[in-house]
Amino acid sequence: MILSGYEALFFWIFALAAIFAGLLTVMARNAVHSALFLISSLVSVAALFVLARAEFIAGVQILVYVGGVMVLFLFVIMLVNVGAEERGTEEIFNNQRQVAASLIFCLLLVGGVLYAVNKGYRGLQEQNRITPEAAAAQEANRDKSLAPSATGSSRITNDSQSLAASLYRYASLPFEIASVLLLVAIIGSVMLARTLRQEASADDVDPETLKEEMVRDPELTNLEPQSE
């Protein structure tokens, strides 16, 4: 896949934005700042998806990650106390030896991955060699067969259409399994996040534990099983 002209320019802008936002996510002292940098990294990656002609995935990325998951993250950051981190009284990284070891590991990983990409891509290129000019001509040919949009300045792609067709035709079982997974996740997170009081009112606590906890929190007695 070879981009050229303005696509190349935008590729470098968004690639650098994604990398720097990712770095700042890891390095920011305040967890809220981390979340905001992660949002900008995700949006930049969504832009890279658009450049790779995966418009639907880019939309899903923004809707699910930025609109859903990151809001969840921000709520959890709000619920737990991060005051100490902001005031700078707490160290945000592990102890120095662990950090040094993991940085060395990451540098080795960078070297290994770059070497692998370099070697592997060269082999791949020898298999099917395609020059930028040929790729551009191929793209132009493909675009000509698409229907023009209402304004006539661009064309309507059928990428999302073919994605949906393949998703429901060839991956319908994984799709159903994914929906079950999401259901399990919903139930699991509700169960995990309940407080002891909520558990007691649903009669979901071991009687022995409940007796012990009642000593600490007398209000629990009022919440004794309301049902049945």
């Binding site: 996510t25 890891v26 639907f56 959890v76 707490e90 160290e91 990409v117």
Partner: protein, 137 residues
């Protein structure tokens, strides 16, 4: 950069047959990002995520780093899907389908993980992973 983009196609045309070397090669490949560039960006995002998981103490930031790792994998899937569709592979769209499932699993993982963080904070009053050492002997 724009000037560079305008100039480089001319350079590419001039050097079409002659083997490019050194700086010209770098310029040419920068003006025409290909699969390898996407893979390198994906790899760097992945490694930044790994570094975050290994070095940070805040459990929420560790979860964010995991999202970064999953996103890097998505970028690789999309890049290969695009590459294969250009070479005429009819099954190239599979990469995008995989990405949909990765996003689903990431959403489920974030929901469960943050539920665990809330439960942990309620019991241990901390979000620092080095203070959560119940399973350490």
């Amino acid at each position: 950069m724009i000037m560079f983009n305008l100039i480089s196609p001319t350079l590419a045309f001039l050097f079409q047959d002659a083997p490019r070397s050194g700086f010209e090669q770098i310029k040419y490949s920068a003006a025409n990002p290909d699969l390898a560039k996407f893979l390198v960006i994906g790899a760097l995002l992945f490694i930044i995520g790994v570094a975050g998981v290994l070095t940070r103490r805040n459990i929420i930031v560790i979860f964010m780093s995991i999202e970064l790792i999953l996103n890097a994998a998505n970028l690789n899937f999309i890049a290969f899907s695009r590459y294969l569709s250009l070479t005429g592979d009819p099954d190239a769209i599979a990469g995008q389908i995989f990405t949909v499932f990765v996003i689903v699993v990431a959403a489920a993982e974030a929901a469960i993980g943050l539920g665990i963080v809330i439960a942990l904070y309620r019991n241990k009053e901390t979000i620092w992973i080095d203070e959560i050492d119940l399973l350490k002997w």
